[in-house]
Amino acid sequence: MSAAAVPEGVARRARNGLGLLLIAYLISLVAYGLVGLGQRGEVPGDLGPYALAIGAAFAAGWIAVRVLAPRADPVLFPTAAVLAGLGLALLYRLRPTVAGEQATWLILGVVTFIVVLLAIRDDRQLDGYTYTIGLAGLILLLLPIVPGLGFEENGARLWIRIAGYSFQPAEFGRILIVIFLASYLASRRELLAAGVGRFGFPRAKDLGPLLLAWGASLGVLFLERDMGASLLLFGVFVVMLWVATGRWSFLAIGAVLFAIGGWLGYTAFGHVQTRIDYWLHALEPDKVHDLGYGQLAQSWFALASGGIVGTGIGQGSPDLIPYVASDFIFSAIGEELGLLGTTVVLLLFLILIGRGLRVGVERQDSFGKLLAVGLTTVIALQTFVIVGGVTRLIPLTGLPLPLVSYGGTSRVATFIILALLVRLSAGRWDGVVWRRRKDAT
């Protein structure tokens, strides 16, 4: 490794990153300005302070990546910045009163992003406390069940309130569980990969973790009635197990367990049944005015009214969609920005996912690979479940669209995932600069 090669590569990456970030910044500002123009016929009065605040946040995030993880993937943060900036402009359009609060959350998210990069200088730190982290994740996941602490909203018990502030601990619990799984599977993958019989059926004791994860998912489903979180947890676990072992039988068993869990959920309580009923019969004329069916009908109406190019920001009627700022923000994008807007959003998520998986491929260690895959899968599945839900591809399970939807917890949690991916991509490994294959040539 020559001394001159490193700075040169670093400089090239940094340039790319900065250009992308400027584009992200520009898109965020233009979107914000257009909201004012489209909705009230004037540029928002606070565009200046807004530009400054967002600019400062984006710049801080970028500098943090440069300084704290100089060899990191340059695309991850700017891509996330576009989505977050777009989301903020949309929230300003949909719920002007909470826009300031959400801008604060975005800044807090970036701050958290920097703090994570600062705190975890070496991702191997995370590999050292497998069970502590796993336990902490489980506790966070199940915290809303604790009486007096957790409370129910819209039929799901996933919130806790501490000192007047409420948040969804599962968003953070999920990340800890993924870290635990990466750590656990990295050390056991060879054992788990050893099968029995012709079909490579896992040994009974290797099924333990799978059943445990299944149990935890069902616990979330039954105790908190949060189908989205339950689905996500189980999906991520099965994917990580499969990636770690390369055994299709785990996928098959996972599918069977998923089916059993779904069936249990369907027969055990009305929540799942009604969701499926809403999904199948959303557009029946006499049901359109019922909230459950109506939200899906309105989502379709919004998407259909938007067509290819959309009505233009501020010109549509996304106010007719219930929960438009959280679960249904994708429908609002579809109405006002059309198929062009929804395609761009899906592509941005695909870029994040592609970059995340690339980190996994480029890492040389099992833990790093599994963690990158797990974190990426969280974002991918979450996006698929909510977008599929609001477009009626699958029954709706309420989840925020990462980075875009209203909600502080989700925004901060996603920035933690990003920070971890950035850290993993920077590849500091035991004090030695881990070299990307590309740089080695």
Partner: protein
């Protein structure tokens, strides 16, 4: 592991491809069908509010009945619908509400007013090319504002309705009903104000949203004798045919009796009366006899059902069949045609034959239908379909659509029409409406009606007429008036006393003006 990660990448891309496919399906391929579904009404109406809607114009081609005006800054919608005449034309224009949809002409001619009709496609494209703002087309109606105003004044706040048509064309000259509603309250204002106005209108027992002139149905009473007399004249009777005139008609198979109005003797108690005198004096008993006479015991035919059918009444068979699946008389607005039972209904209901002949039992109608029936007599026996819109013009004043006149049926021959005119003229000349028309310069042919609704409420008073009658020139107006529940006169109300003067005022205003 890298192989799995790559496979995972492919799987995730595939998942997103399916997602994209679904989004494209909803936003492009099925978009039109989904967006046009009825559940999406709010969005559709909001889109309409972005276009300057066409005007609704009166027959004088000046008076604006409905127009769109800029809503001003800080409004959700660019345009606001305005009805300058308040409640005077409420039932004609209908309302255009962003919350409760449309009614009346606003509904029936919405495609033109909103500028979405196929006829307007060329004009819309031209607008687009020339950079002109898209505007809806204007609808020209047949309603005369002055006549509408006279109808309102003549009713003088009594509950009731007036319908006036031109018998030659079917053009609706006036169509007023009281109580009415001001469409402004449903079309502009805050959502809360609109909702509360809507609740109030719908909660009102007098049904102000429905026009009593053509959307509700009432017992016609003696006013229906126009049809009964037509049936007899079409058979073999003449104006001079003598009929028995007992004091009371003892109806077969029951204890029921049919008496004259107020139980009085008709025509001074003569043992026989001619068709003309029976009609002129509105002898119930004699018409009851005609009703029994019109039923063909051998054939099972009922001449009165046939005649009502020819006049455009919907055939019913109460109590099972009372509705009108297919309107008999075409009209742009939702029009409740009159109802009359089919012959089968009368087979084992002998008294009903007599009651039906005097417009009781299950006979129902409204002023517009009665005006059309009177108009058919005025028009030499040919009944014209009512027409309320003659043309549609785009924002540049080009006529994009014209609506012609349409003949519905020929309920009576020309000869019968002449005889009927003779009968109806006698009503205003020495008959039940003579006092209302004393000193009136124009010869009017009419028929009174006083229908007791059965319960203890005062009777509904009717008068249906046309003018000028019997002068050799074709009559130019046919009008029918109903005053509900005795109007200002209570139990003492009769068609001649309370409804006829209103018809006179309308005829006077139209033929003088």
């Amino acid at each position: 592991m890298d192989r799995q990660i790559r496979r995972l990448g492919i799987a995730l891309v595939a998942l997103f491809a399916v997602l994209f496919g679904q989004v494209a399906y909803v936003q492009v391929f099925a978009a039109e069908r989904i967006a046009d579904s009825p559940g999406n009404a709010t969005r559709q109406i909001r889109a309409e509010f972005e276009v300057e809607r066409g005007q609704i114009i009166a027959a004088d081609r000046r008076t604006v009945l409905a127009r769109s005006v800029e809503a001003g800054p800080n409004q959700v919608y660019r345009f606001r619908r305005e009805y300058p005449e308040g409640d005077l034309f409420g039932h004609v224009t209908g309302y255009y509400s962003r919350i409760f949809g449309r009614a009346g002409i606003e509904q029936a001619f919405n495609q033109y007013l909103a500028g979405t009709a196929p006829e307007l496609a060329v004009s819309n494209v031209t607008d687009l090319i020339l950079g002109r703002t898209k505007k809806g087309a204007s609808v020209y109606t047949t309603i005369w504002p002055e006549l509408q105003r006279v109808a309102r004044e003549a009713l003088g706040g009594q509950p009731g309705a007036v319908a006036a048509i031109d018998p030659r064309t079917g053009d609706v000259l006036a169509l007023y009903s009281n109580p009415g509603f001001d469409p402004n309250v449903l079309s502009s204002g805050s959502d809360r104000a609109i909702r509360s106005a809507w609740d109030e209108l719908n909660g009102d027992a007098s049904k102000p949203l429905l026009s009593k002139a053509f959307q509700e149905l009432f017992l016609p009473g003696s006013g229906f004798k126009i049809v009964t007399a037509s049936a007899e004249l079409e058979r073999d009777a003449s104006v001079d045919t003598p009929w028995p005139n007992p004091h009371v008609l003892d109806l077969p198979t029951t204890d029921d009796d049919l008496t004259n109005y107020g139980g009085a003797l008709c025509a001074g108690g003569a043992s026989q009366v001619t068709t003309l005198v029976a009609f002129q004096q509105s002898c119930n008993v004699t018409f009851g006899v005609m009703g029994l006479d019109l039923y063909g015991e051998r054939t099972g035919n009922f001449g009165l059902s046939d005649q009502a059918d020819a006049y455009g009444f919907c055939m019913t068979n109460p109590p099972e069949v009372t509705g009108c699946d297919e309107p008999r008389i075409p009209f742009a607005l939702p029009f409740q045609n009159g109802r009359f039972p089919e012959a089968g209904y009368f087979a084992d209901r002998i008294p009903a034959r007599a009651y039906a002949a005097v417009g009781l039992d299950n006979v129902l109608t409204n002023p517009l239908h009665m005006a059309l029936a009177a108009g058919a007599i005025a028009n030499g026996g040919e009944m014209m379909a009512p027409r309320i819109v003659t043309s549609v013009r785009d924002a540049q004043g080009r006529t994009v659509r014209e609506f012609g006149t349409e003949s519905v049926s020929r309920p009576i021959s020309r000869g019968t029409a002449a005889e009927m005119t003779q009968l109806m003229l006698s009503v205003t000349q020495g008959g039940t409406a003579s006092s209302a028309f004393s000193g009136f310069g124009i010869p009017v042919a009419g028929k009174t009606g006083t229908a007791t609704t059965g319960d203890d409420s005062p009777p509904n008073a009717w008068f249906s007429a046309f003018a000028p009658a019997g002068t050799g020139e074709p009559p130019r107006i046919a009008v029918s008036v109903i005053v509900l529940e005795g109007g200002g006169l209570g139990d003492a109300a009769t068609g001649g006393q309370i409804a006829a003067p209103i018809a006179r005022a309308v005829i006077d205003a139209y033929l003088d003006g």
